[in-house]
């Protein structure tokens, strides 16, 4: 193996020196490390980012998002739009045309039947498909001919790019997965570990939660790609160790998602073996205010539900003062460095939907104090904590366990104590905090705290479903087993009316305007959500790895076919 790749390398270096990367497999092996190890190669059975990204080396969607968030065709001829006739004028259907001559890695041809099957596979009710939401509102998926697929929606859908677009919904081969639909999905171990795909690589050895070995797909559409003959995809460990393996020891070529403090990252990068790369998406670290009362004195069923409004966070000036006391620039400096930007927006990107709201960026301790004074919150008993009518401004502030979040908690606690607010900190293991176990008091949905901090984003480039989370009645509550997305228990008729309008509007400019208004209502007008940092993604590449384009809108490995070894 080694000799062969060496020989190949020599051939490439001598005979084809000007276009060294113009031969498939000429560059030997690329080593990728993910500190969360992938457990399955089928994105439909696991929503985990690690699994989706690993699978994106093998199976591909019809179109992807590029680093700017624009749509680019992959297996499709072009991206269907209203202008080119691919999307029906009434926005109820979209017709995809597959490129001619596309082949699966086993040599058979990709047809519209595979695409139709993919939809069937995910929409089957017993399968428990993780990407079911991508197919929401789809009434039928049919093959018009061998290479044409028409997706019909039940109602006008301004953003018809849910199915078959992006790393979350790639096309799987019908012949391989035919017997795995519905309840049988779980027993298809071989199919889930060794999917046949159209992507640049093929799995040769899959060890769940450990390491994946891949080799170049001999039937890949571009005969000159991929430049690497094999991929060693290692998982496990922590972000520090994987950063070290790329930046300091040079054992690996690419490390995913290095959530490290900026000074630690800078120290590693100083070794010169590699460089950190950053890009921004829609992920926003925020503080969510609980508008309902989480007091343990309330009976279960009333605690943290709309039946009991919060004793002081239901007052807008208190929420605003808490936001004003925060120095977001400093938070960025401490926690994220080049991978973060202070923000006041819930929807920070794309530009079309991002509001120009920057009021919160300057810290204003005095202003916050004055605001609280004005609202009647004064320190009557001289213990340094403001109170009113016997209620103290004393908060329980929870978040998941993560070094950066604990630093943020410490900083924010200090600022809040300066304006006379007492804070108790609590950090909860992420598997409990983000788990939806209705029996646990510590989930972020249950929100048995006054404020909580976490990050969230949306898939693709359209924020409609993201903003719809804050609809009245969508809050977690006992009757819904504490499932629900309106974490703050926010409720405004005006907001809901605007949401309905957004769902009806197809014109992009208009959609942008409405989305901005919705964003402002949640953030600067009511301070229900206090955004802190627009979090970018930091990964690292070795200096010798070329062609890497960090993409936050799709899988990070979206263009692995174009990666090559930089020759000295």
């Amino acid at each position: 193996m080694k000799l062969k790749s060496l020989l190949l390398g020599a051939v490439a270096a001598s005979a084809m020196a000007p276009a060294a990367m113009a031969e498939r497999g000429a560059d030997g092996q690329v080593n990728i490390i993910y500190w969360q190890a992938p457990s399955i190669m089928n994105p439909y059975l696991s929503g985990g980012t690690k699994d989706i990204e690993a699978a994106s080396l093998v199976i591909e969607p019809l179109g992807r998002y590029d680093p700017t968030g624009a749509l680019v065709p992959y297996l499709a001829e072009e991206i269907p739009t209203v202008e080119n006739g691919g999307v029906a004028a009434d926005l109820t259907s979209i017709t995809w045309k597959i490129k001619e001559g596309m082949k699966w890695s086993d040599g058979s041809a990709l047809t519209a039947a595979d695409v139709v099957f993919t939809a069937e596979y995910c929409m089957s009710p017993e399968g428990g498909c993780a990407q079911r939401a991508k197919f929401d509102g789809v009434t039928s998926v049919e093959a018009l001919d061998d290479l044409t697929v028409k997706v019909t929606f039940g109602q006008p859908t301004p953003n018809p790019y849910g199915p078959f677009m992006g790393g979350q919904s790639p096309i799987i081969q019908k012949a391989q997965f035919e017997n795995c639909v519905g309840a049988a999905a779980s027993s298809c171990t071989d199919q889930n570990f060794y999917p046949i795909g159209t992507g640049p690589f093929v799995v040769t050895d899959f060890r769940p939660n450990d390491v994946i070995s891949l080799e170049a797909n001999q039937n890949y559409r571009d005969p000159a790609k991929p430049a690497f003959a094999t991929v060693n995809f290692k998982g496990g460990g922590d972000a520090t160790a994987s950063g070290r393996a790329v930046l300091e020891t040079g054992e690996y070529d690419y490390a995913w998602n290095l959530q490290l403090a900026p000074d630690v990252l800078a120290q590693m990068a100083a070794a010169g073996k590699g460089e950190p790369i950053a890009a921004f998406g829609t992920l926003v670290e925020r503080i969510e205010m609980n508008l309902t009362n989480p007091s343990p004195d309330l009976p279960e069923g009333e605690r943290s539900t709309v039946a009991a409004p919060h004793p002081f966070l239901s007052e807008e000036p208190v929420r605003r003062a808490l936001s004003m006391a925060i120095d977001r620039e400093l938070l960025v400096e401490v926690g994220y460095g080049q991978a973060g930007r202070a923000t006041c927006n819930l929807v920070p990107a794309p530009a079309l939907y991002a509001s120009d709201n920057t009021d919160c960026l300057t810290q204003d301790i005095e202003g916050a104090k004055a605001l609280l004074e004005g609202a009647g919150w004064t320190d009557t008993d001289g213990d340094g904590i403001r109170d009113k009518d016997g209620v103290k401004l004393s908060l329980l502030y929870q978040t998941s366990t993560n070094a950066v979040r604990q630093d943020f908690q410490a900083l924010i606690k200090q600022w809040w104590s300066e304006i006379g607010v007492e804070t108790e900190l609590r950090n909860i293991d992420a598997s409990v905090f983000f788990g939806g176990d209705p029996g646990s008091p510590d989930t972020f949905q249950k929100f048995y705290a006054d404020v909580e901090m976490y990050a969230n984003n949306f898939d693709g480039t359209d924020p409609q479903s993201y903003l719809s989370m804050y609809r009245c009645g969508n809050e977690p509550k006992p009757s819904s087993q504490w499932q629900g997305e309106n974490i703050n228990r926010f409720c405004s008729e005006e907001y809901d009316a605007l949401l309905d309008e957004l769902a009806r509007t197809g014109e992009l400019e208009k959609r942008g305007e409405i989305a901005k208004k919705l964003n402002d209502m949640l953030t600067k007008e009511t301070m229900t959500i206090v955004p802190l940092v627009d979090r970018g993604r930091v990964s690292a590449r070795a200096m010798t790895l070329g062609g890497v384009q960090l993409n936050t809108w799709d899988s990070e490995l979206w263009n692995a076919a174009d990666w090559y070894r930089i020759k000295e």
Partner: protein, 345 residues
Amino acid sequence: MLTFTIRRLVLAVPTLLFISFAIFMLLQLAPGDPMAQVPLTVPPEVKQQMREALGLGQPPLVQYWKWLVQVLWIEPKILIDWLTQDSWLLGWLPDTNLYQNELRVISWQTRSPVMDIVIQRIPQTLWVVALAYVVGVLIAIPIGVYSAYRQYSVFDQAGTFVTMIGFSIPPFFTGPLLIVIFSVQLGWLPSIYDTTHVVNDWASFKIQLQQMIMPVMVLALQTTAQISRYMRASMLDNLNMDYVRTARAKGMSEAVVVTVHVLRNSMIPVITVIALGVPSIFGGAIITENVFKVNGIGQLLITALFANDLPMVMTLTFIFAFLIVAFNLIADILYGVLDPRIRYD
């Protein structure tokens, strides 16, 4: 002794069943959700469907019963099939076909049979964790014996100092420290363990040695510290006994007195510690495996715990419990062998 062994073996069955039930109920009570690692962008209704597809909607007792049948009935059938078909040991027996595609214990994370993954993890666990244990014990016993024999000598003081420092510094510090020194600064050793590496000749064995030396050393340090302390204490107790004086008075050489008389008697409590430690090899070394990316059983357990992969956690802890019961029995039998005065019946 034989009746004692048989009685204990029979008792082990209800014990294990009870332990497995207790663990199952504990895991049921624990907060957590296999969907915790699914991004927040996946809506709650979809998560609910995924949970149902995993069989989470069923009552706990039904889930427990299903798991029990899978582990104790279906998996052994597969083992027997494998033994009679492919293994070199029993392959000459007529092929059995007991397994008829019943549902095996399926992991929620990977949707693949748990036992297959466990078997996949055994090589690196044996190479690193088991070897570290053996190395640790082999170093610890002579250190303990000699420290006790020359109590308060320079050797004893130095041994105490080093082992106690070694024990009180956690592996999450020693691991990265070794990596910074030997991988980053000196560049001698790889910082990431390659589990796909195959040893088939001298050169590849050398690579294997290089990649396992750091994790083995970190783990062996802990074992050595612990066992040498117990060994020393136990030796000290026995060195002052009357029978030692008698042996010396008879004119036996010091070597015989120490190694035959004292060592054998001192081994009794130490055997317990060693035997108790053996199952923990299977339990893996969670932190060390994580630091060096060895990805053995320990890493499997911790990722399963964080992902709330209950079938995986249940099966691993059950195997662990089985080993604990088995090795406690072995320790008890060894007591009897080492000390004829102990009578169990």
